[in-house]
């Protein structure tokens, strides 16, 4: 074993107290100054490994096998006090949600200095000076006084950086980064990512970088480990895994990600008869407008994407169309007929013709109903069919979205996330709508599952000619499904047109920034973006 091996996990096994295996025989090696990216879908055991490398398991879980070796010391055989001495000092942790990970009752400085002072790494005065230096390196505003503030007094991006300072406060040998940029908006994400990378490089710290996004890990990791269902699938140099993955699963992940970088539907449909027209619409909550001066039209059989960051008003647009958020001014026309602003005033047939697929399939289906009830209800409600006809129609709809007919008696709890989303689509189709509003239908799904759902949506459009209003924050999804796209910023549409036009110059400045913020799998991408920014 080489001397510069700072972290070594040998045949690590973590189980729940009920015996389910979360992490199965995983080996991790980390050399001084090296960054290993851990990548995988939800439930792959990434975070569990991150915590287990600190010999920590959350309530309900137990580390049941293997060795955890930090700087040559095996932690599982050590006493609790010895383990405590490593945590924070030799190996530190950066969590996904900074807002929840800071104690609201203590100043940032107190929390940053707590580990070095209690571990006896440095006296308080020195720890404070060091903290100020870290604040400065992380480009936090007023580094001298930044630490006097309380967590709720600074922004999310700043708090995430403050957590990085807290992790680095003892100059640890290893730092565990658990999705540190996932909770941030795309445009702030790359700044934090770049700062984290520089910080780790400057101090020569080794890192375990946990993420679900291949493109993020491409920017920061020397090596990549792909995990699935708690098992290691593939490990290798970053370039090799990204460019020539050896296993089918890794290949699928990489290909999925590559596909999202190309535009799939260059041509809008020739049929220009509009199914939905939105004209000069303003709407909001209370006195606060959230969408302003919206004009757009969606043609029959077309997918129209609305893209923007959180708070841009894109979901409010959907709520205006379905009538949950009554518009203040303007008009919304379905097939030439004006829709009442508020939901209760709309006749049943109008309601039928606009359906919705929600973001979270887990909560979009009533867990107490069977699929027969869930999908059958709109059939009975809108078309008043006899019971046997409803039953037959449910089976047809299940087949349409690629689910076996015997699923009728299942409940949502017995389905996977992707299957649930297919049920949601089947429920929308049951109403035989002209327009389906898809509100981030794939953002809660793992990439390969999301890809399947997008394929189904496209196939159904080809077969049934239904139009989609597709709301998303993910440009990759837009490229794959949308004929035309509108970009929203602060409640207004700042650009719209065929998707290919939106993604090629000349750009609207915001669109350009948005596109430039989405990491690409090219390992040099981050450097390129930063270089271009300094040039401007």
């Amino acid at each position: 074993m080489s001397d510069d091996l700072v972290l070594h996990l040998e045949q690590l096994k973590v189980e729940t107290i009920k015996g389910a295996v979360l992490v199965d025989n995983v080996d991790v090696t980390l050399r001084r100054g090296e960054i290993l990216g851990l990548i995988g879908e939800s439930g792959a055991g990434k975070s569990t490994i991150g915590l287990a490398s600190m010999a920590y398991a959350r309530a309900g879980c137990r580390i049941t096998g293997g060795n955890i070796i930090i700087n040559g010391t095996e932690l599982r055989a050590s006493t609790a006090a010895q383990r405590r001495n490593f945590r924070g000092k030799s190996i530190a942790y950066i969590a996904q949600s900074a807002a929840a990970s800071f104690n609201p009752a203590m100043t940032l400085m107190e929390q940053v200095c707590e580990a070095p002072v209690t571990h006896g790494v440095m006296p308080r005065a020195e720890a404070q000076a060091y903290a100020v230096r870290l604040f400065r390196t992380l480009q936090l505003p007023n580094p001298e006084t930044f630490g006097d503030r309380y967590p709720h007094q600074v922004s999310g991006g700043q708090l995430q950086r403050a957590m990085a300072a807290m992790a680095m406060s003892c100059r640890p040998d290893v730092i565990v980064l658990d999705e540190p940029t996932t909770a941030l908006d795309v445009t702030t994400q790359i700044e934090v990512l770049a700062l984290l990378r520089d910080l780790i490089r400057e101090f020569g710290t080794a890192g375990l970088y946990i993420t679900h996004d291949l493109a993020v890990v491409a920017q920061i990791a020397h090596r990549i480990m792909v995990l699935r269902h708690g098992k290691m699938v593939e490990v290798g140099a970053a370039k090799q895994v990204l460019e020539e993955p050896a296993t089918p699963y890794a290949t699928a992940l990489v290909n999925e990600r590559r596909e999202s970088e190309h535009i799939a539907l260059p041509e809008p449909p020739k049929n220009v008869h509009p199914v939905l027209v939105i004209k000069d619409v303003d709407a909001g909550y209370g006195d606060v407008p959230v969408v302003k001066g919206i004009n757009l039209s969606i043609a029959r059989g077309e997918t129209f994407a609305i893209v923007g960051e959180s708070g841009s008003g894109k979901s409010s647009m959907a709520r205006v169309v379905v009538g949950l958020l009554p518009r203040w001014t303007g008009d919304v026309r379905l097939d030439g007929e004006s829709l009442s602003p508020a939901l209760p005033q709309r006749p049943r047939d109008r309601l039928r013709r606009v359906q919705m697929v929600h973001q979270m399939p887990d909560v979009a289906l009533n867990p107490r109903q069977t699929l027969a009830e869930i999908i059958g209800r709109p059939v009975g409600f809108y078309f008043n069919r006899p019971r046997s006809a409803i039953k037959q129609r449910v089976v047809e709809l299940l087949q349409l979205v690629g689910l076996p007919p015997d699923f009728v008696s299942r409940r949502p709890g017995q389905l996977s996330g992707g299957q649930k989303q297919r049920v949601c689509i089947a429920r929308a189709l049951a109403a035989e709508p002209d327009l389906i509003i898809c509100d981030e239908p794939t953002s809660a799904l793992d990439p390969l599952v999301a890809e399947e759902v997008l394929k189904i949506l496209r196939r159904l459009q080809d077969e049934l000619g239904v139009a989609y209003m597709f709301i998303t924050h993910d440009l990759g999804t837009v490229r794959r499904i949308a004929h035309r796209t509108a970009v929203m910023l602060k409640g207004e549409i700042i650009a719209q047109g065929p998707t290919a036009d939106i993604f090629s110059p000349p750009f609207h400045p915001y669109t350009e920034r948005l596109i430039a913020s989405v990491p690409e799998m090219d390992t040099q991408w981050l450097d390129g973006v930063l270089e271009r920014r300094t040039l401007q």
Partner: protein, 315 residues
């Protein structure tokens, strides 16, 4: 923050007004004609008329309400129907007695309940925690009078250390009062401590599950430091609410306990009035209890505002 506190205090006053109105409606308007109820079926129309005028029942409801409220604010709760005495004269010494008993119990129960609750939370799942879970579950399940009689059997009959009747009178020394009121206070302590322990335990546990406590452990801090610096300062708000809730519970529990031990407090006075259907006394006692209850809740909310770091250090 001062604005928030002022708002909360104003809300307390408003609630008190609303409560007084509700009590007034329940006692004066819902029952219909008090005069015929008091004088009975045989009363002559003339005597009814005289009686109504005497009570001011011929005036509209809102005027009666305000004059009643005005009287209450000046310590005038009216005249008891049964013995024609001024209510305040009987209510005030009894109120002091009740306050004495409740404070006696609270002084013992609050530190005990909060302390054991924190301890139990920190030992979650261990034997002592499971043991205390069962014991406190039983203690909160049984009626106060059961606890009271068990204590009487044990400490007044089998071991005659304390009197079974808590008779207090004017001019009694504090030491003797404490001695006499020991069993009733102990009854309240047992019930309230158990309740407080369980509630404190669950609020501390919810803080122990937060990500910032996990982060504190991941920073390698000792258990005692995590609890002392990270968990408890944030548990203060919830614990204050628990204490307030239980003090309110104590104020009500006092009614039953006073009757078990024949302790001359407001609770006993009120129950007596209810069985004699002496409405003005019921009304006065009800208002006193409700005022204490609302007051406690208001104070607790204000304290929660003061200890909340987000409100103490605004943006």
């Amino acid at each position: 923050m001062p604005r928030l506190i002022a708002t909360r205090a104003a809300l307390g006053v408003l609630t008190l007004l609303a409560v007084s109105a509700v009590i007034f409606i329940c006692t004066q308007i819902l029952p219909g004609d008090v005069a015929s109820a008091v004088l009975g079926q045989q009363a002559t129309p003339e005597s009814l008329q005289v009686f109504r005028q005497e009570l001011g029942l011929d005036k509209p409801a809102y005027i009666r309400y305000f004059s009643w409220l005005f009287g209450v604010l000046h310590g005038d709760f009216g005249i008891a129907l049964t013995n024609q005495r001024n209510i305040i004269e009987e209510l005030w010494p009894r109120f002091l007695n009740t306050l004495f008993l409740a404070s006696y119990a609270a002084v013992l129960a609050v530190p005990l309940g909060v302390g054991l609750g924190i301890l139990s939370a920190l030992r979650e799942g261990k034997f002592s925690d499971r043991f205390s879970n069962i014991v406190t579950l039983i203690a909160i399940s049984v009626p106060e009078f059961f606890v009271g009689y068990i204590l009487i059997i044990l400490f007044a009959i089998d071991f005659p250390w304390f009197p079974s009747l808590a008779t207090v009178f004017e001019g009694m020394g504090v030491g003797e009062r404490l001695y006499v009121a020991t069993l009733p206070a102990l009854t309240l302590v047992l019930v309230v401590t158990a309740h407080m322990l369980r509630m404190t335990r669950s609020s501390v546990l919810s803080i122990m599950s937060t990500p910032y406590v996990e982060m504190a452990f991941l920073k390698g801090l000792t258990r005692s430091r995590v609890i002392g610096r990270h968990a408890l300062p944030n548990a203060a708000g919830p614990i204050i609410s628990v204490v307030a809730l239980d003090l309110a519970y104590l104020v009500v529990g006092v009614v039953v306990v006073e009757n078990v031990f024949v302790y001359p407090g407001v609770g006993q006075y009120m129950v007596d009035a209810v069985s004699k259907r002496d409405v003005p006394v019921v009304q006065a006692c009800g208002l006193v209890f409700a005022a204490v209850f609302v007051g406690l809740n208001t104070i607790a909310d204000i304290l929660s505002i003061i200890v909340n770091p987000r409100l103490r250090h605004p943006r």
